[in-house]
């Protein structure tokens, strides 16, 4: 009886030892894989940080202004050029579409307070959108 239990205990010991070693070696292999991936992730993160810094370096206001200054025909935004949606007259009795990419043609706009905006709209470029202002940067 005692001897049997001893043998069983030994067999269990042996089995559990083999099992534990198996797990240990698996862990080591996995650990190495994790370490490798971590190094890769770190490298990617460093790269991202570098690219982010570079992106901002390229987008620094000084440079953007220098680039815009090269476009000779651009002038600073005037207060009169900014209008609210509510100030834009309706066309054919329909509501202006706030989500639309461009504004309707300028023919119906009679307001004399927005001459510059009118001109720009009739040029069919750089559509003005009041939500640029009211949604704003705040």
């Amino acid at each position: 009886m005692g001897r049997l239990s001893v043998i069983v205990a030994l067999a269990l010991l042996l089995g559990s030892a083999i099992y534990a070693y198996g797990i240990k070696y698996d862990t080591i292999v996995l650990g190495e894989q994790i370490a490798r991936q971590k190094i890769k992730i770190q490298k990617e993160k460093d790269q991202i940080a570098l690219l982010k810094a570079e992106w901002q370096f390229l987008n620094r206001p000084d440079r953007i202004q220098a680039l815009s200054d090269m476009q000779g025909d651009m002038t600073a935004l005037q207060a009169q050029q900014i209008v609210r949606w509510s100030e834009i007259p309706m066309r054919n009795g329909q509501l202006a579409q706030p989500a639309g990419p461009a504004l309707p043609a300028s023919d119906d706009i009679t307001s004399s307070t927005v001459p510059t905006a009118r001109k720009r709209m009739s040029d069919k470029k750089a559509p003005l959108r009041a939500d640029d202002v009211s949604a704003g940067r705040r």
Binding site: G2, P61, Q80, E87
Partner: protein
């Protein structure tokens, strides 16, 4: 591993179970080891105990060894007494645009003890880094320290070259390098770091004071991933526009220096702050030049007529005068051997709004006198003008005022902004309180909600007094000296200030310090603009004038026109109906 034959026979075990195992011949040592009898197991227990002691002892001693000699950069760092640039949190503006960030750079170090041929090493390394002096490097390598830096922040190409030398005892370590991609744009706010990535000025120093430095000093290696970006109240686009317009102003008016800031009067958030000449934080040595100080927070100046707003507010709030009071400005005000006159002399009796728009020294001096010396001093103290104003920026300055001999003459001159020198940011805080309904809110460079601002705010004047101030500032922009900044659509109010600079105890007529404060929109101000210029020159197109209305005023106008849309201000084609109801009710001068 185990000899099977050495095991007891299972059948035998079954039959002779009661028999003591150790009696069995041929079972030998193993059988003895498995004996169940207590009297024979003493030896075995000692044996097992010893093995356990040995094992755990070995583990413990190894742990102690690891703790004492960690095989990381920390050991090199300790050994050398030199620090390694730690990670810092990014600094971003209110919209999340990066203002300061870390990038990894490789640095070359040496372990002198492990270098075999030092002369060869010196020769080869100096060939790659021509800016290292061979003698300095030799001295570094000869000493017996375990670790010395050879060169911080090398390029990948240089790293490759050093690697190819294959010198023993030379290694590389990744370090964090602070970069400011926007260059000069927000230099005075951000400050700078030294080569070890420790903040030495501005917000960088403030960030360190939050505990980052202590953490690093205690031996924790701070990982970049653990750090949350620090968000500022600054808007980079607005900041750039402000700085750009100030730079243009300096060139146009040939000023020595210029500075400006934009503050949200509802929350105290600084939206932009620039002081020119400034520096590139990527090259912090530039910041040491005393001409490049932050004139908004470190410089103290006599703010001139902008202080008249404070004096009038004090008079109205004390009840000693009201908006319809009249003040005699027919002749100069005499005090002892001094005489106070007006720059734009009117030689007549003025109402309170007229005193403001004609910027009458005599009128404001009379208001201050009517309130009295001690009440004047108490009011300025309440407005935070007599104490150092501290913000997140570590740089600040103590105001200069006559602490011992503040008499009637002091009160008279301080009433119109001479004799008391404050940091411009302090004046901005005070004027902000005058126009926002009477709440004094300390300026901050970090985001702050209106609810939070209400908690830190202090009621300093009555809302009616605040309305009167908004009214006179608006009046000044339509009829007075602030017309050059009155950009249509933004309902601007403003006040000019021109002070003669004091050198060697004398005021100099040709050396001026001009200031301009503007609010928009004047009926319910959201933003307060301040521009100061140091020694602007008169130009032909300013008709030979160098006062604030001709230089700081137009510059403020340009800043306002450019930044108001960025700040979400919607221009109004029609002025607001009845913006100042109380003033109309009182029938104040200029409402009709």
């Amino acid at each position: 591993m185990l000899d099977r034959s050495a095991y007891p026979d299972p059948r035998h075990d079954q039959h002779d179970a009661p028999k003591p195992l150790h009696d069995e011949a041929g079972k030998g040592f193993l059988a003895g080891l498995f004996s169940m009898r207590m009297d024979k197991s003493r030896q075995r227990l000692i044996f097992v105990a010893l093995i356990f002691f040995g094992l755990y002892g070995a583990i413990a001693s190894r742990l102690v060894h690891y703790a004492r000699n960690p095989e990381t950069t920390q050991v090199l760092r300790r050994a050398s007494g030199e620090s390694i640039a730690a990670a810092r949190p990014d600094i971003v503006d209110r919209n999340g645009v990066v203002l300061a960030t870390d990038i990894k750079m490789m640095s070359v170090y040496a372990e002198p003890r492990r270098i075999i041929d030092k002369d060869e090493a010196v020769e080869l390394i100096t060939a790659i880094f021509p800016d290292i002096k061979p003698r300095d490097l030799r001295e570094k390598l000869i000493n017996r320290r375990g670790f010395v830096w050879i060169k911080r922040e090398v390029t990948p190409k240089q790293q490759e070259e050093v690697y190819r030398l294959g010198l023993p005892g030379i290694g590389f370590m990744a370090e964090h390098k602070r970069v400011y991609p926007n260059g000069n744009a927000a230099s005075h706010i951000l400050g700078a770091v030294n080569v070890d990535n420790v903040g030495i000025a501005g917000i960088e120093k403030y960030v360190d004071s939050l505990g980052l430095a202590d953490l690093g000093g205690a031996g924790f290696s701070v990982q970049a991933d653990d750090l949350q970006p620090v968000r500022l109240s600054i808007d980079l686009a607005v900041q750039h526009a402000l700085r750009d317009e100030l730079a243009k102003g300096i060139v146009k008016y040939k000023a020595k220096a210029s500075a400006g800031m934009i503050m949200d009067v509802e929350t105290g958030e600084v939206m932009a702050l620039a002081s020119l000449p400034d520096f590139d934080p990527n090259n912090p040595a530039e910041a040491l030049d005393p001409n490049r100080i932050n004139r908004m927070t470190v410089g103290v100046y006599e703010m001139g007529s902008t202080f008249k707003a404070l004096t009038i507010a004090m008079g109205l709030d004390s009840g000693k005068i009201n908006i319809n009071s009249t003040l005699d400005a027919r002749s100069d005000l005499k005090s002892g051997k001094y005489s106070i006159g007006d720059y734009h002399a009117t030689h007549r009796v003025l109402s309170v709004p007229e005193v403001f728009i004609h910027s009458s020294n005599i009128g404001t001096a009379r208001i201050a006198l009517s309130v009295g010396v001690s009440a004047h001093q108490a009011f300025l103290r309440k407005m935070g003008q007599l104490e150092r104003l501290r913000t997140e920026l570590p740089e600040s300055a103590e105001p200069i005022w006559p602490q011992k001999n503040w008499g009637e003459l002091s009160t008279m001159t301080i009433a119109f902004g001479h004799g008391l020198a404050v940091a411009p940011i302090q004046a901005v805080m005070a004027v902000g309180a005058l126009v926002n309904g009477g709440r004094l809110i300390p300026p901050t460079f970090l985001p702050r909600t209106e609810a939070k601002a209400r908690e830190v705010a202090r009621e300093v004047i009555k809302p009616e007094t605040s309305e009167a101030l908004r009214f006179v500032m608006r009046l000044n922009a339509t009829k007075g000296s602030a017309t050059k900044a009155a950009i249509p659509g933004y309902f601007v109010g403003g006040k000019t200030g021109t002070a003669e600079k004091n050198a060697h105890g004398h005021y100099q007529k040709d050396k001026l310090f001009t200031t301009f404060m503007a609010i928009t929109p004047a009926d319910k101000p959201r933003y307060l603009y301040l521009v100061v210029m140091d020694e602007p020159q008169a130009l032909p197109e300013t008709y030979g004038f160098a006062t604030a209305g001709w230089n700081a005023g137009p510059v403020t106008g340009a800043v306002l026109e450019r930044t108001a849309p960025l700040l979400g201000q919607v221009p109004r084609t029609d002025p607001p109906a009845n913006p100042f109801p109380t003033m109309v009710k009182l029938g104040a001068w200029g409402t009709k």
